[in-house]
């Protein structure tokens, strides 16, 4: 998020966001009422403190009643204890409400985004989406935990002090309140200045950090051009600008506290001066005097808090705008309400006149027709960008076809329940994705229906226990997506093992292009043969050797099927397949490990 974001003035449309935000609080109305009650009670207690002090002085000390002094002292003590309890409880309650709202919002947003279509993810950078679910929602925390309700508390406190003062002594109250406008104005000006300076600081800091980051990641270039001196000089300049922006803000901060001090000193002088005129005439009591001196100091806090709230509201609203925008995105694969389950054993998979495009211009697939029958194994071959992966994405219903239909056992996949489709098809994608979790969960993908013993048996049968549990020898070792604790080959092994455990009726493979070591490679071949032995399969191959024995091969180019037939038919027929085959054979003679991908022409 850019540092320039938060600092825009409130606008009309913000009211709508605010309304939506407040609606989130609806389930918590009883809690909110309770915490409001607690806040007001605690503020009343705070207000009663100086008053009790006054009573203690006037009716105890001055009137020379020791019992009364003890009475008010112990009353004061119990007020303190109650206030401790109330304040703690309402702070806790408000945090709870705020966190609960964010918890719900975050849960809903995550669920919403997860259901969005694959094309949405392809259009939006992952980092931005992550920010919406995490940082942006966090920005609302202050609004809910500290903002909405405490505003009432602050207002109550200010009004309460004014009323008590007026009740104690109208003239003295008027004198004291004279300084209030100055304090108020000073605070508003201070907040405004501080806000401007802080946005200046944020900009300067962002620049400093961006430059530091840039230099640290481009350190090689700096060494190559021997420009350490220049870089340090430039850094010094940016660093200085950052420093200057802070020196400015210190100025603003430094005068605010003295301002508060002086206003309360002026109030004090006025109080004392008035007292000097009146106390002797018994218009004013000593206790009232001391109470006034205390109340004057109470003003400062709620006023500053109120000014603070405006900022909180501002940043919460700009975050909520981004969050609601994401909520309003409705880019998802439609699900039938009465979707089919219980397809029965797989008989056929058919593509009928299937065409597909992302945008209005370019067709990715054009008029694809084929029909795989039970137990058949098919191969898909073609240059990069010819539409192979799109075919299997369509079959997984990650997109819907633009034209034509895909059916399983004659049933259009649009009418098949999502769970049903997933149980029929098992796909190994090019990138073997590893989750940050144990080896066990990575293999069974959290399906607790597959017991550990069962998975152990599978791995034993496939003889890959040693490969996957190499050093740690445990299924509970935690793997990491980043920080490559696994080699490319081991990641692929896990992907294949997932399929063995899942046991789908149709196996789909998008063969990985990365080179892996020979031992793992032959193991993967072995598992692949095991998987497709008694299953239907659709395989995108980069190594033609992978699909030499399949029943039928489709050759794709520019989104169209240009050749099809068995391996033996295709190599006899001059065309793309034959060329690819010769190229690969030539290459493999010299580099047995090289896959087709390494020399696959880019379309």
């Amino acid at each position: 998020m850019s540092p320039f974001h938060e600092e825009r003035p409130l606008q009309w449309k913000d009211l709508q966001h605010l309304k939506r935000l407040l609606l989130l609080l609806k389930p918590f109305i009883p809690h909110l009422i309770l915490s409001l009650l607690l806040i007001i009670l605690s503020k009343m207690l705070v207000l009663s403190g100086p008053y009790l002090l006054k009573l203690g002085i006037d009716h105890g000390i001055i009137a020379d009643h020791l019992n009364k002094l003890w009475l008010f002292t112990s009353l004061f003590l119990s007020v303190l204890l109650m206030d401790l309890g109330f304040t703690f409880f309402h702070t806790w309650l408000l945090t709870w409400i705020g966190q609960k709202v964010m918890y719900n919002l975050r849960e809903n947003l995550f669920a919403h985004v997860e259901e969005l279509s694959l094309s949405f993810f392809e259009k939006n950078p992952v980092g931005r989406l992550v920010t919406r679910v995490t940082t942006d929602i966090n920005a609302l925390s202050e609004l809910f935990s500290g903002g909405v309700v405490t505003i009432f508390g602050d207002l109550f406190l200010i009004v309460g002090i004014i009323i008590i003062m007026l009740k104690l002594n109208i003239i003295l109250a008027m004198l004291t309140l004279c300084s209030l406008p100055f304090l108020l104005m000073g605070t508003v000006v201070f907040r405004k200045k501080a806000r401007q300076s802080f946005s200046e600081i944020r900009i300067k800091l962002a620049r400093l950090n961006a430059y530091t980051q840039e230099v640290l990641s481009g350190i090689k270039v700096i060494k190559l051009f021997h420009s350490q001196e220049d870089t340090l000089g430039h850094f010094g300049k940016i660093n200085d600008q950052y420093r200057q922006s802070y020196l400015q803000v210190i100025g603003h901060y430094a005068w605010y506290l003295p301002l508060v001090e002086i206003t309360s000193a002026v109030s004090l002088i006025l109080i004392l001066y008035y007292a000097a005129q009146t106390i002797e005439k018994n218009i004013l009591s000593y206790g009232t005097l001391v109470a006034f001196m205390s109340y004057v100091n109470y003003f400062f806090h709620p006023i500053r808090d109120l000014a603070e709230k405006y900022n909180v509201l501002q940043s919460a609203l700009s975050a909520s705008e981004r969050i609601f925008q994401l909520f309003d995105t409705q880019d998802r694969i439609p699900m039938m309400s009465a979707a089919k389950t219980g397809l029965g054993p797989l008989q056929t998979i058919e593509f009928k006149n299937v065409s597909f495009r992302y945008d209005l211009k370019n067709w990715v697939l054009k008029n694809i027709n084929f029909k795989i029958s039970r137990g058949e194994k098919w191969g898909l071959v073609g240059p990069t960008g010819s539409g192979k992966t799109t075919i299997i994405k369509l079959l997984n219903r990650l997109y819907d076809t633009t034209e034509g239909e895909i059916s399983i056992n004659g049933e259009n996949i649009k009418n098949i329940a999502r769970e049903e489709l997933k149980s029929v098809i098992g796909t190994v994608w090019q990138d073997s994705y590893i989750f940050t979790d144990t080896v066990l969960e990575n293999i069974r993908l959290w399906n607790s229906g597959h017991a550990l013993a069962q998975i152990e048996k599978h791995l034993k049968n496939l003889q890959i226990q040693n490969l996957l549990l190499r050093n740690e020898k445990t299924y509970h070792y935690i793997l990491q997506e980043k920080g490559s604790t696994l080699s490319g080959g081991e990641r692929q092994l896990i992907s294949f093992t997932r399929i063995v455990v899942q046991d789908p009726q149709l196996f789909i493979l998008d063969e990985a292009t990365a080179n892996i070591d020979l031992q793992t490679e032959s193991k993967i071949q072995e598992i692949l043969n095991y998987i497709i032995r008694d299953r239907s399969a659709l395989i995108i191959a980069h190594r033609l050797s992978t699909i030499q024995r399949v029943d039928r091969i489709l050759v794709l180019n520019h989104g169209e099927i240009i050749e099809q037939g068995s391996h033996h038919q295709l190599i006899r027929h001059p065309g793309l397949y034959q060329k690819l085959y010769h190229l690969q054979r030539l290459n493999q003679k010299f580099h047995p490990k090289t896959s087709l991908a390494a020399i696959e022409p880019t379309a």
């Binding site: 060494k223 051009f225 430094a254 004392l272 000593y286 001196m293 994705y433």
Partner: protein
Amino acid sequence: MRHLIAYLIPFCRQYRFYFISGFLLILLTNSCAWIIPQYIKHVINHLNIASNEAFINPALFWIITLTVIKCIGLFGSRKILINASRHIEFDIRNQLFGHLLKLPLAYYHRVRTGDLMSRLTNDLESIRSVMGPGLMYSLTTLTLLIFVVPALLQISPSLTLFSCIPVLGIPFVVRKIALSIHHQYFKVQQTLGALTSLVQENFSGILLIKSAGLIENEKKRFANLNQQNLEQNIRLGQIYGLFYPGIMFLVGLGTVLFLGWGGYGVMSGRMDLGSFVAFHVYLGMLMQPLGALGWALNLFQRGTASWLRLQSILNEPHDQSQSLIISPFPSLAAGTLEIRNLHFQFINNGFSLKNITLKIPLRKKIAIIGPTGSGKTSLLNLLARLYPAPSRTIFLNGIDLNQLAESSFRKSICQVPQDSFVFADLIKNNISYPDFSLPQIIIEAAARQASLDDEIHGFPEKFEQEVGERGITLSGGQRQRTTLARAFSKNPEILLLDDCLSSVDAATEHTILTALNEQFTDLTLIMVSHRLSSIQNFDKIFVLDHGQLIEEGTHPELMSQHGLYQRTFMIQQLEKELI
């Protein structure tokens, strides 16, 4: 803590005028603060005396005057001390950054940039807080105590003892709670971190999640982490809930004890009413500074931890690839760049070079080819001295490469790395980097030689075009040619190109190489390439495989050897025919 202080002392000395004047202003503030209640006491004691103006008016005058002086002191000390901390922060940041620039490349492979960034921001800030607010608040509070405690004792020792007991507890309570807030905040950040990684993982692995039908499961996993985050946050709320009310309670307790015991004292005639009120004012004066002291104690603790992290950067030894003996830079008009029995193992990626011996004639065009992982880049990096080569393995006209002075070495030898790094700056400055004063004519010539000028003239701002962070507005090929132009503008004697034309089409590559041939006749060019057609007429080609030199010669010589070169060439020819 001791080490941190030892490190900061030179800075304190450097900014001693700030610290001394800041301290004097604090003394001024506190002495005013100490006198004011005396006048209040005076006023109150004279309130019930008739025609008291003669006593009261001067007192009121002094109260307001002293408050103004106090405020000036408050303003000044705050501004001066906090400014000093910003100056020190500025100095430390420059020092750290300068130090980082001198660390060897291997260091950057070892540490993550994010980690360094966090040290340069968060840890530095906590050191600054020690020097700024930390120092200011502790000085203020301690001197205030020195003034106020005797004043309190003078009014009533027993009352002081009673009412101050809870008040003096404030710093310890604040420190303790601040510490547990810090710990709890860390836990919140941890759960948030776990939550963020799960979201990140989900959105990047969405293909598998959707196709394997894991959405419901992921929602559950998310809910679990979300719940943990919720719980930790609520716990943090609990601690916050204790913080402010807890302090208010201690403050209030002091007042209660004061009212009871002090009131009793007034009634029994041991104390006058003015002293009673003055005592109340003094007591009130202590509250806020004592809270701040607790907070400052917490800052010191955090600063010490941060210091350890910064120290580990400062303790890293500088780049020592250059030997202590500096030889005069040889003329590169003729001669050889020679590698003798070079063995090298890169720690960070496991690539290695085995027993390489080869001679590169100067002022010729040389190519290095080989499959991925064969050691081409490693070799080039050693020639460019990005990593120190073992001594007596690489010789430029007979002089060990390690013995050449860095500045003259960089002036004559330029490398263009594989990852074309551009700065978030104008395209012009990216070409002239690091010498922004380079004449426009040289910049334009370099752009032309890199076949980039047509495209630059197509940009709205021409050479003044901003390229954005990491050159985001440029295509991969444009970025590569920008880094190439950067090297051309330096007119180096030896140019090392590390496969830096991979995103440029063959025709453009041909144009660039032709321009190089015609315009840089004296240049020694050493180029790693995957496109064999572009290096066919080079003077010499070296073929590497698995870290070893397996073939060398000119194109016709290598073609007749029927080795890796010839096979690779044939495959590439076939590929071209395919599409």
